[in-house]
Amino acid sequence: MKSGKKKNYNFIVGGTITGLMLIFIIIGFFYTPYDPNAMDPSAKFAGISLKHLMGCDNFGRDILSRVMKGAGTTLSVAAGTVFIGTFFGIILGAVTGYFGGILDEILMRVNDAIFAFPSILLALVFISLLGSGTYQVVIALGIAFIPSFARIVRSEFIKCKNMDYVKNARLQGAGHLRIMFVHILPNTFTVLLSAIMIGFNNAVLAEAGMSFLGIGVQPPQASLGRMLSEAQTYLFRAPNYAIFPGLVIILMVLGFSLLGDALKREE
């Protein structure tokens, strides 16, 4: 197919960007040039230099270390969110898709309700319920992501449940659960995979949005969204404070979306 070239072109570029990002973050877990929260009054707004590759913020903290840690937080929040979204999304989608009937009707109405709900408010409610912090953000976003995954899984299950191999399995005595999770589920993996990629990107952007509004991760812990919102004030004096976290978010999301595209064209 013509687009064959573009596909593995995506795969290569997407793979390298994501690979670099993951290395960048994994290093960040163990080693950062400076303690991300250590303040150095003399280095206030220090520009990009060999000592501080990305310069320093208004507290004289090394931006590179904070971005590494911040990227780590954003990544783990996004990963946690996608995990919750996918896990419950699969269960909800499988049940409603496979069995249908009133159960499907009710759960789909609940799904629409959550969809119609501005996710920011949902997060706010959870945050005030459980207190703010990384875990609460993960749970809040995770729940907000369940409907979209459930919808994707449900449509796949509806498509597969009428296939002949499912009838065959029933004739051979396979139970409903076995059919759902052993027979049908593997067929949804490719669609699920690209949905996870897209979900991941939305989770990264949502986390950044929430910490931008100040309800996400708490200071002094670094989070890319919060750094961006604080950097707005110093945009002229220290543009690097805004550009680097923004750049890291963009690279992370770009890497994953290219990978997602490459995988989607796989099937």
């Binding site: 296939m163 002949d164 191999y165 009838k167 065959n168 399995a169 029933r170 004739l171 051979q172 005595g173 396979a174 076995r178 027979h183 593997p186 067929n187 993996f189």
Partner: protein
């Protein structure tokens, strides 16, 4: 031949569907798909069922297999009849290897340990005329004919007494079709398998079946041996079918 006992008897079978297209509140009328169908099948017999699309032949198959609700009585000597389908692409799980697909019926029936199961799978593959190494291939790597052979192998794993073949060869080319029919014929002899052979192709039915039933609009309009039905048909619709298929006696 000893008096063969009936493997399957169907008496006054009716199946109807809710008409979904009407609104939430209007009175629902139910469409009659099968109108009191009755027949019986002998052990080891190949019974043909001919009808055009929408005549209800697949619905009958589903009722016998217990996949849909019905009124009337269906008695079977051995339970767990198996089925092979028309579309080779839809009847094999694309995400699994052929070996796994064939092992599944054994796993479900609490078959022996996995080594013995793999052995049984190899045996069956050879029996349906396929090489052993097909076990670790994926369905999409097989041709139409090969996939149909795997379906037959899968259906025979649990050694059913009754096999329902719903248009098994309609989607295949003529030459491949002949090979599959010949395979079914051999298995029927070797295993004493009774087959309910559903098809719209009168020539294939003539070659395969001992007796045949003609179905139209959910009713059996004619039954009998292939000779009687093809050469001395009583029902006018049967005549049309024969004439349309270019069978001039």
């Amino acid at each position: 031949m000893t008096e063969q006992k009936d493997i399957l008897t169907v008496s006054s079978l009716c199946v109807s569907f809710q008409d979904r297209s009407k609104g939430l509140f209007q009175k629902k009328n139910r469409i009659q798909v099968l109108k009191n169908v009755s027949f019986s099948m002998k052990e080891g017999e190949v019974l043909g069922l001919v009808g055009e699309s929408g005549s209800g032949k697949s619905t009958l198959a589903k009722a016998i297999l217990g996949l849909i609700p019905y009124e009337g009585k269906i008695t079977q000597v051995s339970s767990y009849p198996q089925m092979i389908f028309q579309d080779p692409y839809g009847s094999l799980n694309p995400a699994k290897k052929v070996g796994w697909i064939l092992e599944e019926p054994l796993r479900l029936k609490g078959g022996p340990d996995s080594a013995k199961r793999k052995e049984r799978v190899r045996e069956m593959l050879i029996r349906v005329g396929l090489d052993e190494k097909f076990a670790d291939r994926y369905p999409n790597q097989l041709s139409g004919g090969q996939r149909q052979r795997v379906c037959i192998a899968g259906a025979l794993m649990q050694e059913p007494r009754l096999l329902i073949a719903d248009e098994p060869v309609s989607a295949l080319d003529v030459t491949i079709q002949a090979q599959i029919l010949e395979l079914l014929e051999r298995l029927h002899k070797e295993m004493g398998l009774s087959i309910l052979f559903i098809s719209h192709d009168l020539r294939v039915v003539y070659q395969m079946c001992d007796n045949v039933m003609i179905m139209k609009g959910g009713e059996l309009v004619e039954q009998g041996t292939v000779e009687e039905v093809y050469f001395h048909h009583k029902n006018e619709y049967t005549g049309n079918l024969l004439q349309a298929a270019g069978i001039h006696i």
